[in-house]
Symmetry: C2
Subunit: 320 residues, 2 copies
């Protein structure tokens, strides 16, 4: 049963992707199987072969999720000049370098060159739109549409408007990402790291602390997560997990009885540092754990597993 396909309601629309790196190429693959026309704008002289290679790696996963990959090559083109690339775009998905000055100058060019009704979204994971829009005449047009890597596979898109964003623009962005099969969620405030990356930073700090302290090895830490919390969180988020973990009394019972030990735990959690000794320890243990397999073999297995999880969950969702 198809898991994360869409009804291709944006087929025929044109999206300009600024920056054809790992994120841009993954977006391109997703947009193409949704029937959109994709123009990639990137100054790299080898951009065409690089994007083709990244897309070739992404398409099997999209097909495993239920998409057909017909006409993909016919709808993909390249245009190095940013202004020409966006001239007829319905959507602009920016995936350029994470440098404020670059993005500020870019949006000035795009605003002048793109159609007035084009949807303008940045993929940035770290620079909020209110830092990017400083040179725009109409600052109500810009927002962040931050995907979770890899964008063609991971359902989440964090849609982060600024205080100036027109609510109608936010609604259009949410509708667009949902229209290409994503789970788009509106983040209400521009906080650093948005939501997913903050949660990831929190668990990573404790992970580094526990390995640095010698409580577990690096691969044991990974095995703890994949054999417990990962399975739990793929199916229910932290709040629903504790709602059900508290028994029939639910979250209220949990907060009453396990709230105090939880607050005590927050006090004893570790502080980590990525100093030279810690980095050396991590890299040494990494080699012992994963050194025998190539980056590409490990990535392929990870993608297959992610597809298996997404498809497995979709079966349950459709059945219930």
């Amino acid at each position: 049963m198809p898991a994360l396909t869409s009804d291709r309601s944006y087929a025929g629309k044109t999206v300009a992707i600024i920056g054809g790196g790992v994120i841009g190429a993954s977006w391109a693959a997703l947009f193409l199987v949704n029937g959109l026309k994709v123009i990639v704008s990137d100054p790299d002289p080898e951009i065409e072969s690089k994007v083709q290679a990244l897309m070739a790696a992404a398409l099997p996963a999209l097909q495993a999720l239920g998409y057909e990959a017909v006409d993909v090559a016919a709808n993909l083109s390249f245009e190095k000049d940013n202004a020409r690339a966006v001239a007829h775009a319905d959507i602009v998905q920016e995936c350029g370098p994470e440098k404020p000055e670059f993005k500020q100058a870019l949006w000035k060019i795009i605003e002048a060159a793109a159609p007035k009704g084009a949807l303008l979204c940045s993929s940035s994971s770290t620079i909020p739109a209110s830092v990017q829009f400083t040179q725009m005449a109409d600052q109500s047009r810009l927002l962040v549409g931050h995907p979770f890597n890899p964008p063609h596979l991971m359902p989440l898109v964090e849609v982060v408007p600024t205080p100036k964003t027109d609510p109608a623009i936010t609604a259009r962005a949410l509708a667009f990402y949902r229209g290409v099969g994503k789970v788009a969620l509106e983040i209400k405030k521009e906080v650093p790291g948005f939501v997913a990356n903050r949660l990831q930073a929190a668990i990573f700090q404790e992970s580094v602390f526990l390995v640095a302290e010698g409580v577990v090895s690096l691969d044991q830490l990974d095995d703890v997560v994949t054999n417990s919390l990962g399975i739990r969180w793929a199916t229910s988020g932290p709040f629903l997990s504790f709602h059900l973990g508290g028994g029939p009394g639910g979250l209220p019972h949990f907060l009453e009885h396990l709230g105090p030990p939880m607050e005590a735990a927050w006090k004893y959690l570790g502080k980590a540092s990525l100093d030279d000794a810690t980095k050396a320890r991590l890299i040494d243990q990494l080699g012992a754990s994963y050194g025998a397999s190539s980056f590409y073999a490990l990535s392929e297995t990870r993608d297959e597993k992610e597809v298996a999880v997404i498809n497995g969950l979709a079966h349950v969702q459709h059945a219930s």
Copy 2:
């Protein structure tokens, strides 16, 4: 394809479970489908019907994982007296109240009554074995075998020896849990919360902070996790995820280039408190998000999803 079944190498052995609550009954179901004889020891006058009901809910998931549920009832018995319950036990799995005095007194009784070669394990999530063994004559026998809830479904068991534990006992405990189909990992130091619950506490603090600050609602926070990090961590732990997320340069490249922003993120992560206002906010949003479904309906869906994830991942593992 069966996912988490075992070769039933412990079939015919006898396990005494002290405490027939949610954890004890879940262990009972797992041990029974592995062919063990199970004696549940619990003072509750209604313990038999309660354990039967919990087991009836657990067996479908075990069957979905590939276990057969034959002879389950025939191998289950009850004995309120702790000493009599352990008299012929090969393994004692303690699941009593999380009170140090209770466990200290209990282990004294069990040590005197159980066979000298019996494996003695506590399911405690919070009280290390070195706090529990104070009244034992031979303190080298005790360790923690902490399951992740629900034990019959979740692969992980954290095996936590004390500094006094005989390494041969630790090895026997690891072999036993692996023999009943679990992923048993040895935790090298007795730190509060062991590993999985510390990681869970870290992500929960940031989750509560983000909802308390109004960045996202409670159900959005859950949706962020299930549509991004959960899928990632069900397939690859935090270190392997960043090893692959850093591109072909792997974790060394990640630490070099994204280490500084990661350390900066650790500084801006939130501090949360479960004060009355926060609890009220969480419970209010919980009702709006999940209030329409019963605890039992939500739990059943969660179990189905967890089985789907475990089985989906097992297919990939067996294929690669």
